[in-house]
Amino acid sequence: MSVVFSVFMLTLLVITTFAIVRTRHLFVAVVLTGIFSLLIAAIFFLLDAADVALTEAAIGAGIATVLFLGALALTGEHERGGSRNRLLSLAVVAVIASILIYATFDNPRFGDPQAPVHQHVSPWYLDGTREYIDIPNVVTAVLGSFRGYDTLGEVFVVFTAGIGVLFLFSAQPRRRRSSSQPATGPIEGEGLRHYLIPRVVGRMLIPFILLFGLYVQFHGEYGPGGGFQAGAIFAAAVILYALLEGETRALRALPASVLTGLMAGGALLYSAVGVAGMLLGSHFLDYSVLAADPVVGQQIGIVLIEAGVGITVAGVLISVFHAFAARESV
């Protein structure tokens, strides 16, 4: 039954992809990309990768769609005519596709327990999690502790991407960011203040979205979740507030300086936990020395670095959204 469902979802995925490629209307393409993310999140879930599914749904289908729409508001909704050299593009795509399809023949059978990926370090991670870290969610243990370097790298990628976007937007001549000169009163007509129903429902939901973000953040050791997902959910709550109440109010609640601090602070917190391990006489990012009991030390370390991840991701996503929105009001 699960196989039938997977094939059905994959078929939908292919159809969505063709629709994205075929459409000339960029607004339609953005919405279809959101649908694509949601479908692939469902497929990840069918493959028992709940953590990845949650990330894909929160970031791919949620925040990325909003950011794409923000970008569309600055540009245009219609694709410019493509280049004339269609045959060349087709040839390149055909060659690459056939190489990739040829490569799949060497793949182990789907779900094969003898596959190399299940034989290399995975058994050690599964056993080691119980012995060294003792939390139910192995994914969090692998991400946070065993492969802490990789996750640190990811956080710095997010951080660097955020800085890059902010630089790109500040390079153009434009009105000063409203953050540097907070307006004296709420600007009437900003956001959706005149639309009663979205505003009432949105205001009612925002606290619960924030609460759910905290749950995802701190429940990551026990179930699917963690800093990346929680950061995206937090950002979604703030973006919803900004859409409903207007940029000015959102920036008054969370000023741009605070957001920049969050962006850097999360990455710094992560690195500081690593350095603390060194100062206490072990390796960088070895959390075992953070407490008298190595297992408790690992758990403290994972909670701290997940908090760092969440802070940076939320800060970057909200800053990028504000950067788009500030351009829009030029």
């Binding site: 959706l192 639309y195 129903i197 979205p198 429902v201 009612m204 939901l205």
Partner: protein, 111 residues
């Protein structure tokens, strides 16, 4: 006939009915003449489809944490879906799509 079996039957009836309403909503979105009537069809999926399917799954889950989570999801859907429909409709009105005119325009385009 045990109580478990009754619950199971009830759950499957709800799930099938919910599936039917989702299907009807899908057909409506494809067949209706203009945006507002299409939204009306889609809202059948949001409300009747979602309620019946989630209650059906709740019966399957029994008295457990999963049921509480499903109830939270149902509450969330019942709050957000009509709001989204409302926002979509007012955005369409704001963009100048009049319900009566658009019907005429759509039929003209199809002919």
């Amino acid at each position: 006939m045990t109580i478990d079996m009754l619950i199971d039957i009830g759950s499957w009836v709800l799930l099938s009915l919910g599936g039917f309403f989702v299907f009807v909503g899908g057909v409506g979105v494809l067949r209706m003449p203009n945006l507002y009537t299409r939204m009306h069809a889609a809202s059948v999926t949001d409300t009747m489809g979602a309620i019946l399917i989630i209650v059906g799954i709740m019966l399957q889950a029994g008295a457990s944490l999963a049921t509480v989570k499903l109830a939270a999801i149902l509450l969330f859907l019942l709050l957000t879906s009509p709001t989204a429909s409302n926002a979509l409709a007012s955005a369409a009105l704001l963009a100048g799509l009049r319900p009566s005119e658009s019907t005429a325009a759509d039929t003209e385009r199809h002919q």
